[in-house]
């Protein structure tokens, strides 16, 4: 299986990554991808629209955690390729934060594995978001919904 895990400050081209994931692989019949973006309006957060998001991470452990999540996905589903790209540093509303793309022979495994990877990433990979609004900066709180979503796969 082809695995690509990247943590980077630079923007990525989600379309190009999705196009590339199964290039030359006649055995891939399905590619499923998820792109997470910076939302300006956060209903649960006071202080008005978010003007900037800064992502901190734990270099070394981040790559290890993402690779472990992908490796577990491989044990659960038959996959042909996985690409995970997560940005760090300063991001503006509308910018893409994360891409998870999964290629498989058939769609069921690709859909499930993509959802699994994103759910696990949100609760296990050491990233922390900090939001800037008109009222200043604050760390984003972990959400119970994310823990529940990830818990479905335990």
């Amino acid at each position: 299986m082809r695995v690509q895990v990247r943590v980077q400050e630079q923007p990525f081209d989600a379309g190009a990554e999705v196009e590339a994931i199964a290039r030359g692989d006649a055995g891939t019949g399905a590619v499923v991808s998820f792109v997470g973006r910076v939302r300006a309006d956060t209903a649960d957060a006071p202080g008005g629209p978010v003007s900037r998001l800064t992502l901190e991470h734990y270099p070394g452990m981040t790559e290890k955690a993402l690779s472990a999540i992908v490796a577990e996905a491989q044990t659960r589903w038959e996959l042909r390729a996985v690409t995970v790209i997560h940005r760090v540093g300063a991001l503006a509303p509308g910018e893409a934060i994360v891409l998870a793309a999964v290629a498989g022979a058939h769609r069921a495994a690709a859909f499930a594995a993509c959802e699994f990877i994103v759910d696990r990433l949100k609760t296990r990979a050491p990233f922390w978001k900090r939001e800037r609004t008109a009222q200043g900066e604050r760390w984003v709180e972990a959400r119970a919904e994310d823990a529940q979503a990830a818990g479905r796969w335990d």
């Binding site: 997560h86 990979a125 050491p126």
Partner: protein, 85 residues
């Protein structure tokens, strides 16, 4: 020596992101190291578990339970629940 790292809200609370530390006498596990660091003052105490916010600990880049061993040469990281994706 052990390397101790702090991230995000915890890094700000304790005022440092990283330090090298001789393993204090009698400290054998994560719980012991946490208890030792919390004696450094109210800021440390609150940031590392005395406050309402949960704290995660990784030893050598794997999240572990409080009873996990800590030995010379280890990298120990303290951080809040993660919020990536």
């Amino acid at each position: 020596m052990i390397r101790v790292l702090y991230f995000a809200r915890l890094r700000e609370a304790v005022g440092t992101g990283e330090e090298s530390l001789a393993l204090p006498p009698g400290v054998e596990d994560v719980a012991g190291l946490t208890a030792y660091l919390r004696t450094r003052g109210p800021r440390w105490d609150e940031a590392l578990g005395g406050g309402p916010a949960p704290v995660l600990v990784a030893v050598n880049q794997t999240v572990v339970a409080p009873r996990a061993r800590v030995a010379d040469g280890d990298e120990v990281a303290f951080f809040p629940p993660v919020t990536g994706g």
